[in-house]
Symmetry: C2
Subunit: 499 residues, 2 copies
């Protein structure tokens, strides 16, 4: 006879989350397939199948029986890890049940309609056509924020942000971004002055797609990606999907440019290794999930920016490029390094270098926070956009909605509160490397020798293997001795671009 | 105000089947992905995810509320198509509920264990190791047969066969295969005599995989496959999966042989076009499903055998081969035709030509029917196998279990009752072409001119678009004026191989 469990409610919850994980697996594969493989005429059937699964998962996640189980599990003799897992279960239940079913459905329909229309409206620079949809998305997001704020006691914008970055507040963002705002424009100017005097060879194409694919796969291997538990494929919009046991990365190739797919692949490899190395013993449980979106971005940016553009790493990349595309002066390590760290204020966030990128995020954050808090309306966006882009980056965006406030898919989809994660991720990435250098002063020499293990070991021990064991602040403190500290990001930019 | 439905029970059932169809979609994509893409370390997680979905679907299919809805729907004012749909719903419910849950689980576990062990046992020619597992699979199949027979009133083997080929009985199979048994061995002998005097050029390889892939895709286009609603990929064991809206065919390539992948692709294209052309207005309902496995095989064999080895079609294929692999005497249409219709009694069913193939099926049918009816035991199989293979094909199989009774995955997986469908399919395919020739005497001339439309139009009108509208006999009668008539198959073989 087996002993009865002393934690029956917790066990039931764990079984429930295991089931969600297994069903999520099928949805993840179908989502990846939709982007990477699906023939066009299957779109309607796939959409219906995914919607059916989303409804099923929502019913499971909001099962009223969970409330009582969560309450009882809190009184059971759990160990620390189980207690952390329970904390994340509670959070998942709170988020799943915070919004009325009717609002969830209305938001989904509106987002899908708005996103679909936006594709053509953006191409046509049709702000007037887009505006009614955007107004509706803002109205819905405000409703969602009100519900989430009621439940959590947070400010409205903070309640939206909390879905992606638990515990982060706009007070904290204001502190961090406010600092950034003060020194970034002059830093950009100094970098531009300096780079304008540097010689630069541009690589000569075309760069055959097969050679690019092999180069990306070699680079992923160099970066430790496990092809036994993941793949690289092609999709129109690169992403890192799948499940921790089967990570599906995508990229896209253009014959005239190899740097886009290479840097994108390095970026997604950071996401991919995080997923592949989440704590295996806890797989399927909330504890085994990535901590937050800022921490996720801190991994992709640790790979793309901290490591990918590191002169030591670039020296290893250079011969691979020559092998893939033939010898060129552009592939000489010094030139390649200048190429990969070229700063140029521009209109488009996703094309931005690491120095100007935060400016794009600040513009969006300031606008969307004010929108959600009801301080401005959708109609006010273009004027604010123009002013802020001129102030922070010195670029003129007037009349160009397409490459202005219509460029990102976030707002047409109602995804307010996500943008700050990108820059928080860049800051955490710099903080992680600063912490590594404190532990291992020879870090840069080791990277230059082609030994990336110290980087991976540190990330594995301090971030990947921790999953959602700790709140983000605590994770950062344990990993680096302090909570988020943007000084490391500034120091990184100054060292790399002005040092 | 909307009028209340006069068919509320039927409507609820239709909604239920729509839901099953959407969830099946996700399972189908994940199954295909497992075979075509999945990295090895994901196997366990994928298996668990698919098992979770299988359990969920089983619960939905056996929902006790369905019994009452099915009963009430029978009294509702349905039109003929709805009534046919209800008939198929009843059949699906009967099959899903016929077996006790515990037996379903025991069968799944045993099948998975037995199939896994079989892979190495087969390679090692280890009959003694395989035998205990086979005994268990037979015992389980007998239990399943007893339950299914109880429910349906059929004989036990017939009850198993009914899962794949509704309405088919062993009395009918005995009649059809008994006839075949009498004339096949002497026909094989006459064909061998005749072919031994024919000159034959063998194609010289290697045949680059990229060229083979392009050739297969061109051939699929020639055969009308819609790449807007399907794909061709690579897997270890070729199959046609996915869903009607998104057909996923697979093949495998070997550098030294192009004919295997080409013929396999033509075969799967037959399955694929059937799926792609099932009645769209009914998609998701049982009525829109393929009629049966014999009818499904009749489509793949109509493509591979009737059309694929048709001298008129071979003449169109010949220049594509020369384009893919360079000019060779082997690709001259007459030689290619001889190559594609070469008869050679052998050990392996899946490698067999269309003349000797039925002998392989007869051997399996006679053995598995006697096994299920309790007339023989698993231990008796090798002696029976040796005797029947010598009698029907003149080949010596003694001591070679690997290429004998251990060669197919069906028995290790407990799949008894399927084998007859292959030869029934070949017979139906011959019957369809005989019917086409009655309607259109110029059919062969049209094919020789490269116009395949009459073939596709006939299959579309008489088979594809009919889905499961009619019981198989009625489908055959409407399509060809008579139920299954094996005389057409004999006439086809005699005309092609002795004419």
């Amino acid at each position: 006879m087996s002993t009865p469990s002393t934690t029956p409610a917790y066990d039931a919850l764990a079984a429930h989350h295991g089931r969600l994980h297994r069903l999520d697996h099928l949805a993840a594969v179908a989502h990846w397939d939709q982007a990477a493989n699906m023939p066009p005429k299957a779109a309607e059937a796939r959409g219906a199948a995914l919607a059916e699964m989303a409804a099923l998962l929502h019913r499971l996640r909001t099962d009223p029986a969970l409330a009582e189980q969560l309450r009882r599990a809190g009184d059971e003799p759990l160990d620390d890890a189980q207690r952390a897992n329970l904390r994340e279960m509670q959070r998942a239940y709170r988020l799943a049940t915070a919004l009325p079913e009717s609002l969830v459905q209305r938001a989904q329909l509106a987002a899908s309609r708005s996103e679909h229309a936006w594709r053509t409206q953006r191409a046509a620079n049709d702000w007037a056509g887009f505006l009614p949809n955007l107004r509706e998305m803002v109205a819905i997001a405000r409703e969602e924020a009100a519900h989430l704020a009621d439940r959590s006691g947070l400010a409205r914008y903070d309640a939206l942000m909390d879905r992606f970055e638990p515990g982060m507040t706009s007070t904290e963002i204001d502190r961090v971004f406010g600092d950034l705002r003060r020194w970034l424009p002059s830093l950009v100017q100094r970098v531009l002055d300096r780079q304008s005097r540097e010689p630069l060879h541009t690589p000569a194409g075309p760069f055959p797609v097969d050679a690019q694919r092999r180069l990306c796969e070699r680079t992923m291997r160099l970066l430790g990606f496990d092809f036994g538990a993941g793949r690289l494929d092609v999709s129109a919009h690169p992403f890192c999907g799948g499940v921790p046991e089967d990570v599906r990365m995508t990229t896209r190739f253009a014959e005239h440019d190899f740097l886009g797919s290479l840097l994108g692949t390095i970026h997604e490899t950071g996401h991919g290794r995080y997923e592949q190395n989440l704590p295996r013993d806890w797989l399927g449980q909330p504890l085994a999930q990535a901590r937050s979106m800022a921490i996720h971005e801190s991994q992709s940016l640790a790979f793309e920016m901290q490591l990918g553009a590191h002169p030591g790493f670039v020296r290893q990349l250079a011969p691979l490029l020559a092998e893939a595309f033939g010898d060129q002066a552009a592939f000489e390590p010094g030139n390649l390094q200048r190429l990969m760290t070229r700063v140029k204020p521009g209109l488009i966030r996703v094309d931005a270098d690491e120095v100007t990128y935060p400016a794009h995020v600040i513009v969006r954050y300031e606008i969307e926070r004010a929108l959600i808090e009801g301080e401005i309306e959708a109609d006010d966006i273009p004027a604010l956009w123009d002013a802020k882009m001129m102030e922070l980056l010195g670029v003129d965006t007037r009349g160009n909605y397409r490459d202005g406030p219509m460029q990102d898919v976030h707002w047409p989809e109602g995804l307010f509160g996500y943008f700050p994660c990108y820059t928080l991720g860049a800051m955490y990435a710099a903080q992680w490397f600063a912490a590594m250098r404190r532990v291992l002063p020879a870090l840069d020499a080791r990277i230059a020798e082609g030994d990336l293990r110290p980087v991976f070991d540190w990330l594995h021990e301090n971030v990947w293997s921790q999953g959602s064991r700790w709140p983000t602040d605590e994770l950062a403190r344990r990993a680096s001795g302090e909570p988020l500290n943007p000084a490391h990001f500034r120091a990184h930019l100054e060292a790399r671009y002005l040092g």
